[in-house]
């Protein structure tokens, strides 16, 4: 159909019925910054970095269905400034000490900080005390770095056919839990081949014994900006093999 189009920063792009603004943008090779969204998983709309102005009102691009003739502002100085502030808030809310983290260079939160030109945290850091769970033989869970994006929760349920993770608590008390009686990752059925073990955009869920295989300077976002990486290599989700849910 010719009339299924919307405008992002004045550029006319097509969409199919049922697509969100984010779906249409990614299909057209337009980068809308995002952290909690992964094509193929149900949208979550929690990080708010994909906030765009739709016909003058703010909305999350990953959750709002595209509709005909929409005028979407995306890459504007004002929106990018707000997105930078959101990124700063994500940084100060957890313990994001990049020099100590083996995810550095592969971390989407860090890459977004670079993308927005973030130089400092601006706000006073919370320095929360959160539990580290090293009970699993091959997967590490460091809640200090968790940003509550629920990518692991959704990947486990929607792709792995398991139900390893959940978010518990409300507001500032929200935290990532493991759905086992003990609450320990070691007692769960998470395996290293699961998407949930690899999808973490920050360094909260890490595969053990592989931390520094790729040297700093050669990692994903050392070589490509987050915008390039995201638009150039659309993610195809495949169900992993070794579970029969």
């Amino acid at each position: 159909m010719t009339n299924n189009t919307l405008f992002i920063d004045g550029q006319e792009i097509p969409f199919e019925a049922g697509q969100t603004i984010m779906d249409a943008a990614l299909a057209a090779g337009i980068y809308i910054p995002h952290l909690c969204h992964k094509p193929g998983l149900s949208p979550h709309g929690s990080c708010k970095l994909c906030t765009v102005d739709v016909d003058g009102r703010s909305a999350s691009a990953c959750t709002l269905p595209a509709s005909n003739g929409m005028q979407v502002d995306n890459n504007t100085p004002a929106l990018n400034e707000v997105r930078k502030t959101l990124t700063q808030m994500l940084f100060v809310e957890g313990n994001h000490l990049c020099p100590t983290c083996s995810k550095s260079g592969d971390c989407t939160l860090q890459a977004l900080g670079y993308h927005f030109g973030m130089l400092d945290g601006h706000f006073p850091p919370f320095y929360p005390r959160r539990e580290v769970d090293a009970s699993h033989p091959s997967v590490m869970l460091d809640r200090d770095r968790c940003i509550l994006c629920e990518l692991c929760v959704r990947a486990s349920r929607e792709v792995d056919g398991k139900n390893v993770f959940a978010i518990s608590g409300r507001g500032a008390q929200s935290h990532l839990i493991v759905n086992t009686v003990s609450g320990k990752l070691g007692d769960s059925d998470l395996q290293t081949g699961d998407m949930a073990a690899h999808i973490c955009p920050v360094g909260a869920i890490l595969i053990k014994d592989h931390g520094y295989e790729v040297p700093i300077g050669m990692r994903t976002f050392d070589l490509h900006s987050v915008a390039e990486s995201d638009v150039a290599s659309p993610v195809t989700l495949k169900k992993t093999e070794h579970h029969d849910a």
């Binding site: 000490l97 990049c98 983290c101 900080g113 030109g117 850091p125 900006s225």
Partner: protein, 178 residues
């Protein structure tokens, strides 16, 4: 034309940022035609006189750090927070998970290989803060130079901008938090 006066200090840092400053190598010679160093580990001057630029490495982990930082803010027209520790506490802030008492006991009583276990209590030792803090929680910071450490090029870039009277800007390629 009087030289631009620069002061530097390392608070709760590792002097890595100072090493990186020296990594501007032979460009230091040209820089010294325009600048002179006041208080700094490089000059061993103990107190900061009136300065144009203050480079502060490291966060705040004890009472002396806070005192020195306030002196820098008072004396320096432009104060730059240099490196991850000055900006968000960095590696020293990993102790914020624990109480000061727990840290002292681990370091001086129960740690591996501790000889003559005893928590130091000399009155000349600055008291530890209950948590490590970044600079901007205590004083106004004019510019931030992230990195662990910021590269020599990043130091040269920000100093060149300031010396030329330009608003400093960090090229994307030099922006790193690690």
């Amino acid at each position: 034309m009087p030289k631009i006066r620069i002061a530097t200090t390392s608070l709760a840092g590792c002097f890595g940022c100072h090493m990186s400053l020296l990594d501007i190598d032979e460009r230091l010679v040209g820089l010294l035609e325009h600048v002179e160093f006041n208080r700094s580990p490089l000059t061993d001057i103990k107190h900061c006189g009136p300065c144009d630029i203050g480079l502060v490495e490291g966060g705040l982990c004890n009472a002396e750090n806070v005192h020195v930082l306030r002196e820098f803010r008072q004396q320096c027209k432009i104060l730059i927070a240099v490196g991850a520790c000055a900006i968000n506490g960095g590696v020293p802030a990993m102790r914020n998970h624990y109480s000061v008492q727990e840290c002292l006991e681990e370091a001086y009583l129960n740690g591996v290989g501790v000889d003559n276990p005893m928590i130091p209590d000399d009155p000349e030792l600055p008291l530890l803060l209950s948590k490590v803090h970044p600079l901007h929680e205590v004083v106004r910071v004019d510019y931030y130079l992230p990195g662990c450490p910021p590269s020599g090029d990043a130091f040269f870039n920000i100093l060149s901008d300031l010396l030329a009277g330009r608003e400093p800007s960090l090229p994307k390629a030099m922006l790193h938090y690690d």
